[in-house]
């Protein structure tokens, strides 16, 4: 007995690998998904449908209705019809609906998380721990404001704007819907929301929640479709306010079209955010900030820290540690609970990312394939990577890639760090890493960015305003400031 056990004593390092840990929560998905207009699911008058697929396999999940001009019109009219009653409802009564929505999202959280992962490709870990809880938190947060609006704007009285057209992107589908809808309806507006065409399913499931909580018909309408649907919505004459999150390119078009119409506009657009690491930072922890800054959600984050500026004396150490750290990033099946980096949202986006990587190499950048995890044979995948030998004039250091691709540059003085960081048409977010408090404030004050994280990155909270400078847009979402785009001050 003794000798038997002795032999089995582990003395050599073990190749201990994690077994597959798939999330198995069963959900059902309708084969055809209709439009949500006036409190009911209705077939599109356009009679057109489009397919939505799972980015991890590129297999079709369901058909989704394409809202044509007539459908958009119907949705806007439904919102318009609901407006008088909803806007006159006491704030405390509106709050009850928001609380119910928040609770219902929590109750159905696992279902939402699984659906988000199937439809969008993000790791289940992130959908479960970030997207869905934050979406619920947003409704809770703005429920709290609904009957306290006059305190948010001292000395002014507050009125809703009217019918809001809201267009959201595919990177945080349910969360962006919550960001848009919660403040809008809390302030007494009604809404027509259009999710991105590759990720419509969680928004439509949120429509089910609206039915469950018996939200008055027409207060929230959800219409699906691609660019044309968005165009019909943006250009509809009965929209009083347009809120858009997406590319700067589309944002500029919307702004041109809205000019002279009297429509209010808020835009949350692209970014090329700087993450600045000083030599006096806690380097091991800064590495974590780099990783969560650029590889979170496959880099599909408008505030991703895609430009890394490292103080020259520590650049080799940072590259060495980052390379080591990236080896432990687990890329693959988004439904596996141990996956850190999931699937790229669509084949088109994958092509865009791959094109940028090629451009980076062609322009003389050195590509570091620090993560060499084997990728699944089907689906859209990109190993996280980074570039060195990059100058601020390189294409990949100027344009938003929206993928897991980082550009590493250096600086010598705080002055140089600030001027390099600000040398971009964008101004959404920035990160500052230093152990010195005075430097944090000095640098943060002079960075032209709407959100600045100090010794952390990509932290979100419903109470904290989010929005950009320059071509990253205007208007704030979240926090008390997030009420302003949805009220008329009189």
């Amino acid at each position: 007995m003794t000798t038997e056990t002795q032999k089995s004593t582990t003395q050599q390092p073990t190749e201990w690998e994690y077994s597959a840990a798939p999330e198995r929560f069963p959900i059902s998905i309708e084969r055809t998904n209709k439009l949500f207009i006036g409190g009911k699911f209705v077939s599109p008058k356009s009679r057109k449908w489009f397919a939505s697929s799972n980015p991890a396999t590129n297999e079709k999940i369901a058909d989704i209705a394409t809202a044509g001009a007539a459908d958009v019109n119907a949705a806007v009219l439904a919102a318009k019809k609901a407006l008088p009653k909803w806007s006159k409802l006491a704030g405390s009564e509106r709050a009850k609906y928001l609380y119910r929505i928040a609770r219902r999202i929590q109750e159905r959280a696992r279902e939402f998380a699984v659906l988000e992962t199937i439809d969008g490709g993000k790791p289940i870990k992130e959908a479960r721990d970030i997207d869905i809880p934050l979406a619920a938190q947003h409704f809770f947060y703005y429920a709290g404001w609904a009957d306290k609006l006059q305190y948010a704007f001292a000395g002014r009285s507050v009125q809703p704007i009217g019918v809001c057209g809201q267009i959201i992107p595919w990177n945080f589908p349910l969360l962006m819907a919550a960001w848009k809808l919660a403040p809008a309806i809390a302030c007494g507006n009604t809404s027509v929301l259009k999710p991105a065409e590759t990720t419509s399913l969680t928004a439509l499931r949120l429509a089910e929640v609206m039915q469950e909580v018996e939200l008055p018909e027409g207060v929230i309408n959800i219409i699906t479709g691609a660019g044309d649907t968005g165009k019909y919505l943006a250009e509809h004459k009965d929209i009083n306010k347009l809120a858009f999150t997406g590319s700067t390119e589309v944002g500029k078009i919307l702004m041109r079209n809205a000019a002279g119409t009297g429509k209010r506009l808020t835009l949350e657009l692209g970014g090329k955010s700087a993450n600045i690491i000083f030599a006096d930072a806690a380097i091991d922890q800064a590495i974590e900030g780099i990783v969560s800054g650029i590889y979170f959600n496959q880099g599909h984050v408008c505030c991703a820290g895609s430009r890394l500026f490292v103080e020259e004396p520590i650049v080799e150490e940072v590259i060495h540690k980052l390379t080591h750290r990236m080896k432990s990033l687990r890329v693959g099946d988004p439904m596996d609970k141990n996956t850190d980096v999931g699937a790229i949202n669509s084949p088109t986006q994958l092509q865009t990312i791959e094109r940028y990587i090629k451009t980076g190499v062609a322009e003389g950048g050195q590509l570091h394939k620090a993560n060499t995890q084997r990728l699944p044979s089907k689906g859209n995948w990109c190993n996280p990577c980074f570039f060195t030998d990059i100058q601020p004039s390189h294409t990949i250091a100027r344009e938003e890639i929206f993928g897991p691709v980082l550009s590493i540059m250096t600086f010598r003085t705080p002055e140089e760090a600030i001027s390099r960081a600000n040398n971009t048409p964008y101004g959404l977010a920035a990160g500052v890493w230093t152990d010195k408090g005075s430097k944090v404030f000095e640098v943060a004050k002079r960075l032209e960015a709407g959100i600045i994280w100090c010794n952390s990155y990509n932290k979100f909270d419903a109470a904290s305003p989010f929005g950009g400078f320059k071509e990253s847009g205007f208007g704030r979402e979240g926090g008390m400031q997030g009420l302003k785009p949805y009220v008329k001050l009189v």
Binding site: S8, T9, W16, N338, S456
Partner: protein, 303 residues
Amino acid sequence: MRQRVDTVMVEERASSFTQRSIKTQSKTQGLRLALSMIDLTTLEGKDSDEKVRSLCRKAITPWEGKMTPPLPTVAAVCVYPSLVTIASRALEGSGVRVASVATGFPSGQFPLSVRLDDVVKAVEAGADEIDMVINRGAFLSGRYEEVAEEIKQVRLVCGGAHLKIILETGELETLENVRAASDLAIEAAASAGPIADGEVFIKTSTGKVNPAATMPVTLVMLDAIQSYFDKTGVRIGMKPAGGIRSAKQSLHYLVMVKETLGNDWLTPKLFRFGASSLTNDILRQLVRQHTGRYTATYDFSEA
């Protein structure tokens, strides 16, 4: 220069390891590995020869039942110097090592000559490994050279015995102190002569002070080990001790080691748990996976 450490991000990363889902085969394999890394410990004033003998039996044969493949032995039995002779007799030929705390454990508040003598006696009595405590008083008052010199002296009298340096992180309080003490301990041990892989460990706690081992503290110490490896290619070992009681916790630690230092460190040569009640919780889980049934606490021998 002192390495800077940011508590917020350390805690965040440490908690990320607890989010890993370790199931089925990886769980069995991980638990067996954790079992083989345990320094089965008894450090009480009332320790008897009998208790140490029964602990040694447990170390060699953690469970009396049959399992295929057979369960590993634990890594070592850790006792006070006065009980080393008993332990080394009981463990002879088993492959389980004898570890002894020394240097005036747990406080270290003794003259250096007494502490060194403590080590010499333990080694003479047959200890394969010495778990020393650092002079926290000197460290906290900034007398770093004194701390380093003492560690060097201890290593010089260890002879062939491996050395584990207990920082007593609960008394150092801040993570920056933990990192500074880790760096200092490793460098001091190295100043006494070249280190073979696993010949020197850094260890969190005596188990006599709260808090003992925590995930953030261990992570900071692993970072120090990584830095030393990057610089020299030498692998220092790590031993969290105290407060690790459940099988699940032990898996969290293994995940942390795997995702920082890597698979190379997943061996009892380089990673240990200082624990006693952990053993039975691991056994409970392994037996459940083996038989499909939950067991009662009294199904396992106590020591």
